[in-house]
C-alpha cells in the first residue's frame, strides 16, 4: 500500500514537471497532421465530426492548453507545499521544491507556446 502511494506520488511529480512538454508535443504533431498531410488530401479544407479543420486546430489547442494548465497548477501546488519544509536539513523536500520550480516555469513556457500556435486559424483560412 505504501509502495502504491509512493508510485502515485512519483507519477504526480512527473506530471507536474513534464505535463506541459507532453501536451505541446501532442499539439505540434496533431496540428502538423491537420495542416500538412490532411490538407494535402483535401486542399479546400475538410470536416471531421461536423468541425472544419480550423475548428479542429483550435480544439486541439484548447485540449492541450487545458492539460498544460493542469500541470502548471500541479507544479504550483507542489511548490507551495514545500515552502516551509524545504530546509537544509530536509534534502528530499529541497529536491521536490527544485523540481516543482522547474515544472512551474516549463509549463508556463509551454502554455504560452500552445496558445500562440492555437490562435493562427483566427487569421488564416483552412488549409492555406
Amino acid at each position: 500500500m505504501r509502495a502504491h502511494g509512493r508510485n502515485r506520488d512519483a507519477l504526480f511529480v512527473i506530471f507536474a514537471v513534464t505535463g506541459g512538454a507532453w501536451a505541446w508535443t501532442l499539439q505540434l504533431w496533431l496540428s502538423w497532421i491537420l495542416a500538412e498531410p490532411l490538407c494535402f488530401l483535401q486542399p479546400s479544407g475538410f470536416r471531421l465530426a461536423g468541425l472544419d479543420s480550423n475548428a479542429l486546430w483550435i480544439l486541439i489547442g484548447l485540449a492541450t492548453g487545458a492539460l498544460t494548465l493542469t500541470a502548471l497548477l500541479a507544479s504550483f501546488g507542489l511548490w507551495r507545499d514545500t515552502r516551509e519544509s524545504a530546509t537544509a536539513d530536509a534534502p528530499a523536500s529541497r529536491r521536490r521544491r527544485f523540481l516543482s520550480y522547474v515544472g512551474l516555469v516549463l509549463n508556463a513556457l509551454f502554455l504560452v507556446t500552445i496558445v500562440m500556435g492555437a490562435t493562427s486559424p483566427l487569421f488564416l483560412e483552412p488549409c492555406t
Binding site: A21, W24, T25, Q27, L28, S31, W32, L34, A35, E36, P37, L38, C39, F40, L41, S53, N54, W57, P91, A92, R94, R95, F98, L99, Y101, V102, V105, L106, L109, F110, V112, T113, M116, G117, S120, P121, L124, P126, C127, T128
Partner: protein
C-alpha cells in the same frame, strides 16, 4: 578492511603500456580526449575547406576553384563542422568531464564508449577518403584514382543527391560516413544519459548537478530522440542510390520532401545539441572567475531543458520555403520564437553573474566567454528575424542566413569551446596555458570572426545567394567579400595560435596543481591530470559548490566516503592516504546510485582494456566501404566477422564471474554486484538502445504513412501486402520465443540447472528461426518488385528491418544459451537472461507495429 593502495588502484585502472593497451583503452578519459583531439583535427580540415571557399570569393569572377570543386568544398566543410567537429567535440568533453564532475570512476559502458570513438574516426576517414584520392591524383601521372568527392551539401537534398543527378560515389561515401558518425553519437548519448542518471556520487542530487552536466544530459536525451531520424533517412537514401528503391523519387510514388522532414527532425536539434553544452561550459567558467555561484541556477536548468525540448519541435522552420501550408508553418514559427526565451534567460543570468562578481578575473577563458556573450546575442537576435516566416522567405538561401548561423555556431559554440580549452587544459594536462598568447589568440579570433561574418548579413540583404561559386563585379559586394576573406584568415591565425599555445604548454608549461582557478566543482578535486581511477574514494557531495566553503577555497572536509567510515584524510588535491598491499588484485568498479536521492544501490564492475570495440568498428566500416565501392570480397568476411566479434564481446571473462574483492574500492563491501532488471545500469543501457531502434522503426512507419497519404493511390494499382497467414504465424512464433525466454529466466531464478535454462533458450532460438523463415518465405512469394514503387520499397524495408531484428534476437539468444549450457548462470547471475527477455519483448512489439501498418491499415492515398 584496509582500503586499497593507490598503486593497486592504478594498476587496476590504467591501460597496459604499448600499442595494444593504447588501441584497447576504454576508460572515459582517453576516449574523451581522443574524441576532442580528433574533432579538432576535423575542425582543421573543415577550416581549410572554408579558407579555400573564402579565397575563391575574395574577388569577383575569380577562378581559383571551379563550380564543381566549390560545391565539393562547401559539402566537406559543412559536413566536417556539423557531424565530425561540433557534436563529437561536445560529447568528448562530456565523456571526459561528466564522470569527474559527478564523482564517478568511469562511465557505465566503457567498451561501448570506445566503439563510439572508433566508428566516429572511421566515419571521418571515409568522408575524406575521396578527397585524399583526389589529392593523390594531383601528384600522380594521368590521375589514376577515381574522383568521388561528395558535393550535395551537408543536407544532401534529393533529387539532387539521387544517383541520376549525383552519379559519382561521393554521396555514398558521405552517407556511410554520416551514418557511422550518428551511430557513434547515439552510443555516446546512451552512455551519457545512463551515467548521469545512475552513477552520480551520493549527495549529487538533481538540484546540485553542475550546469555543464545538466546540458550534457539534455543533449544526450535530444540525441536519442532526434538522431534516429537521420540514420533512417540516410539508409533509405543509400538504398535508393544503390538498389533503386524509390523512397524519394516522385515518379514512382516517393517524396523528396520526406528526406527534408527526416533530415531536419535531426538537423534542427543538432544545432542546439552543439550549443547547449557550450552554454554549460560558460556556466562553469563564470562562477570560477567571478568568485560567486551562478545566479538563477534553477532558471538556467529550466532554460537548458526547455531549449532541448523546443529544439525537437522546430524542424519545419528550415522548410518555410518549400511550399507547405501556411497554417502548418505558424505552429513551428511560434515554437521558433519561444525558444529565444530560454536562451534569453541564460544570457541574463550570465550577465547578472558578471555584474555581481565578487572579484572579476578577466583571463583568456573569460575573454572568450565575453566574446561568446556578444556574438551569440547578436546571432540570437537574427534568429528571431529568420523565425518570422515572411522575413525568412526573403532571406532564405542568402548570405544573411550564412551569417546568422555562423554567429550562433561559431559565436555560440566555438568561442565557449575555446574558453573551455583554456579553463580545462590545466586539469587534463596538468599545465597552464600562456595567458599572453591566449589573449592575443582571443583578439585574433574575435576580430577575425566578426570581420568574416558581420558584413555577410548585409551581403545577404543585398541579394548575394549562398553556395554560388562566384559573382559579377560592380554589384556592391566586392569590398565586403574581400573583408570577409581577410577576416577568415585572421580567425585561422588565432586558432593556429591556440594550437601552438597548447603544444607549448604540453611540452613544458608551468605546473597547474589540482585547482589552479580555485573553482567549485568536483573535477577540480581530482589531481591534474586526474589519476586513472579519478577519485580514491567516491566522494559524498554536500552542496552545489562542493569545493567552496564560502571562501572560494577547496575544502577537503566537504568530502566523505560514501559510507561514514573509514574516513580518509586529505593532503590536498584529492590525493588521499590509503592502506592495503600495493600488489593486490582489484576490479574496475564504480557506484550505481538511485535516480532521485543518489542512494548507493550496487557496485558496477567495469571491463578493462579490450580490442573488441576496435575490431567491431573496423568490421562495420569495412562493410560500409565495401558496399559503397562494390568490393563484396571485403564485405562478406567483414559481415561474417561481426557476429563473431559480438560473441567475443559478450562472453564473460574470469574477472566478470569471480571478481577479486568486489566493493573493496568503494568503501561498500556489502553492496551487491550481481544485479539484474531495472536496478542495474546495463538494463538502462539496453532499454535506451532499444528505444533508439524503436524510434528508427517509428521513423520508417512515419515515412510509410507520409508517402501513403501523399500518393495518388496506396497501395498502387494491382499491388498488395499479400495474405495474412504467414506473417500472423510469424507473429505468434515470436511471441512464443518471448515466452520461452521468460521461462528460462524463471528457471534460473529458482536455481534450475544450466541444461534446463539452455533448453528454454534453445526453444526461443528454434521458434525465432522458424518465424524468420516464414517471414522471408512470405516476402519472396508476395512482395512486389521493391524498385517498382515506393509502396513496395517501404514494404521491403519494413519487413527487412523486422527480419534483421529477429535475426539479432536469435543470434544473441544462441550465445546466451551457450553460456547457460556452460553453467554460467545461477539464481544470482541473471543479467544476460533478463536482457534476452527484454530483447524478445521488443522484437514482438516491433512486429505488432509493423504487422499492423503493413497488413491492417485501410487503403490510403490522395486519389
Amino acid at each position: 578492511m584496509a582500503f586499497p593502495s593507490t598503486t593497486a588502484l592504478d594498476r587496476a585502472w590504467r591501460s597496459p603500456a604499448g600499442i595494444i593497451g593504447w588501441l584497447g583503452a576504454v576508460n572515459h578519459k582517453p576516449i574523451g580526449a581522443r574524441f576532442v583531439a580528433t574533432a579538432i583535427f576535423f575542425f582543421l580540415l573543415g577550416g581549410l575547406d572554408s579558407l579555400l571557399l573564402r579565397s575563391q570569393l575574395a574577388l569577383p569572377e575569380a577562378e581559383l576553384v571551379d563550380a564543381q570543386t566549390f560545391g565539393q568544398l562547401f559539402t566537406t566543410h559543412g559536413t566536417a563542422m556539423m557531424f565530425f567537429f561540433a557534436v563529437p567535440m561536445v560529447e568528448g568533453l562530456g565523456m571526459y568531464f561528466v564522470p569527474l564532475m559527478i564523482g564517478a570512476r568511469d562511465m557505465p559502458f566503457p567498451r561501448l564508449n570506445a566503439l563510439g570513438y572508433w566508428l566516429f574516426l572511421f566515419g571521418g576517414l571515409l568522408l575524406y577518403l575521396p578527397t585524399l584520392a583526389d589529392i593523390a591524383n594531383f601528384f600522380l601521372p594521368a590521375e589514376p584514382l577515381p574522383r568521388h568527392i561528395p558535393d550535395g551539401g551537408w543536407f544532401a537534398y534529393p533529387p539532387l543527391t539521387s544517383s541520376e543527378y549525383s552519379p559519382s560515389l561521393g554521396l555514398d561515401f558521405w552517407l556511410i560516413a554520416v551514418t557511422l558518425a550518428e551511430i557513434s553519437a547515439i552510443i555516446g548519448a546512451v552512455e551519457i544519459v545512463v551515467c548521469i542518471a545512475r552513477n552520480r556520487a551520493p549527495g549529487m542530487t538533481w538540484n546540485r548537478l553542475p550546469l555543464f552536466v545538466w546540458s550534457i544530459l539534455a543533449i544526450g536525451i535530444a540525441i536519442l530522440l532526434a538522431f534516429p531520424s537521420v540514420v533512417t533517412g540516410s539508409v533509405l537514401l543509400e538504398l535508393e542510390r544503390k538498389l533503386g528503391l524509390p523512397f524519394y523519387e516522385a515518379a514512382l510514388g516517393g517524396q523528396p520532401l520526406l528526406w527534408q522532414h527526416l533530415f531536419w527532425i535531426f538537423g534542427h536539434p543538432e544545432v542546439y545539441i552543439q550549443f547547449l553544452p557550450a552554454t554549460g561550459v560558460v556556466s562553469m567558467i563564470l562562477p570560477a572567475f567571478t568568485r560567486r555561484p551562478i545566479i538563477a541556477y534553477s532558471l538556467i536548468v529550466v532554460a537548458i531543458l526547455s531549449t532541448a525540448l523546443f529544439s525537437l519541435g522546430l524542424w519545419v522552420h528550415h522548410m518555410f520555403a518549400t511550399g507547405l501550408p501556411w497554417l502548418g508553418l505558424t505552429i513551428f514559427s511560434a515554437s521558433s520564437m519561444m525558444i529565444t526565451i530560454p536562451s534569453g534567460i541564460q544570457v541574463f543570468a550570465w550577465v547578472a553573474t558578471l555584474l555581481a562578481a565578487r572579484r572579476l578575473q578577466l583571463n583568456t577563458a573569460m575573454l572568450f566567454v565575453v566574446g561568446f556573450l556578444l556574438t551569440f546575442t547578436f546571432g540570437g537576435l537574427t534568429g528571431v528575424m529568420v523565425a518570422s516566416v515572411p522575413f525568412d522567405l526573403q532571406a532564405h538561401d542568402t548570405y544573411f542566413v550564412t551569417a546568422h548561423f555562423h554567429y550562433v555556431l561559431v559565436g555560440g559554440v566555438v568561442f565557449p569551446i575555446f574558453a573551455g580549452i583554456y579553463y580545462w587544459f590545466p586539469k587534463v594536462f596538468g599545465r597552464l596555458l600562456d595567458e599572453r598568447l591566449g589573449k592575443l589568440a582571443f583578439w585574433l579570433t574575435f576580430l577575425g570572426f566578426n570581420a568574416t561574418f558581420l558584413l555577410q548579413h548585409n551581403l545577404g540583404l543585398l541579394g548575394m545567394r549562398r553556395r554560388v561559386h562566384t559573382y559579377e563585379a560592380g554589384l556592391g559586394w566586392d569590398e565586403m567579400n574581400l573583408i570577409s576573406t581577410v577576416g577568415a584568415f585572421v580567425f585561422a591565425a588565432g586558432f593556429v595560435l591556440i594550437l601552438f599555445s597548447m603544444f607549448r604548454a604540453w611540452r613544458g608549461g608551468p605546473k597547474a596543481g589540482p585547482n589552479p582557478w580555485r573553482a567549485s566543482t568536483l573535477e577540480w578535486f581530482a589531481s591534474s591530470p586526474p589519476a586513472s581511477y579519478n577519485f580514491l574514494h567516491i566522494p559524498h557531495v554536500g552542496g552545489r559548490e562542493p569545493l567552496w566553503h564560502g571562501r572560494g577555497e577547496p575544502q577537503a572536509a566537504d568530502f566523505q566516503p560514501a559510507q561514514p567510515e573509514p574516513r580518509p584524510s586529505a593532503d590536498g588535491g584529492g590525493t588521499l592516504r590509503s592502506e592495503g598491499p600495493p600488489d593486490e588484485e582489484l576490479s574496475r568498479e564504480t557506484l550505481a546510485t538511485s535516480l532521485m536521492d543518489t542512494r548507493p544501490l550496487h557496485n558496477v564492475l567495469l571491463p578493462g582494456t579490450s580490442l573488441a570495440p576496435l575490431a567491431l568498428a573496423m568490421a562495420l566500416a569495412i562493410c560500409g566501404f565495401g558496399v559503397v565501392a562494390d568490393l563484396y570480397l571485403l564485405v562478406v568476411p567483414a559481415l561474417l566477422a561481426v557476429p563473431l566479434i559480438v560473441g567475443w564481446w559478450l562472453w564473460p571473462r574470469a574477472n566478470d564471474l569471480r571478481p577479486p574483492a568486489p566493493g573493496r574500492t568503494l568503501d561498500q563491501a556489502d553492496l551487491p554486484w550481481q544485479v539484474s532488471g531495472p536496478i542495474s545500469t546495463p538494463w538502462w543501457g539496453l532499454v535506451l538502445g532499444l528505444g533508439v531502434v524503436g524510434l528508427v522503426i517509428m521513423n520508417l512507419v512515419f515515412s510509410y504513412l507520409y508517402l501513403a497519404v501523399l500518393a495518388p493511390a496506396w497501395p498502387p494499382g494491382g499491388e498488395s501486402a499479400g495474405p495474412l497467414l504467414l506473417p500472423l504465424a510469424a507473429l505468434g512464433l515470436v511471441l512464443l520465443g518471448a515466452i520461452s525466454g521468460r521461462l528460462g529466466l524463471r528457471w534460473a531464478r529458482v536455481g534450475s540447472g544450466g541444461a534446463r535454462i539452455a533448453a528454454a533458450l534453445a526453444g526461443s532460438v528454434a521458434v525465432g528461426v522458424i518465424a524468420l523463415v516464414l517471414l522471408l518465405d512470405h516476402a519472396a512469394a508476395h512482395l512486389p518488385d521493391p524498385r517498382g514503387s515506393s509502396y513496395a520499397a517501404m514494404q521491403a524495408v519494413l519487413l527487412g528491418t523486422q527480419a534483421l531484428l529477429m535475426a539479432i534476437a536469435v543470434g544473441v539468444t544462441a550465445v546466451v544459451a551457450l553460456q547457460a549450457a556452460w553453467g554460467l548462470f545461477d539464481s544470482r547471475r541473471l543479467m544476460a537472461l533478463d536482457h534476452v527477455c527484454v530483447l524478445w519483448y521488443f522484437v514482438t512489439a516491433a512486429w505488432v507495429v509493423v504487422f499492423g501498418v503493413l497488413f491492417l491499415l485501410p487503403p490510403l492515398g490522395a486519389g
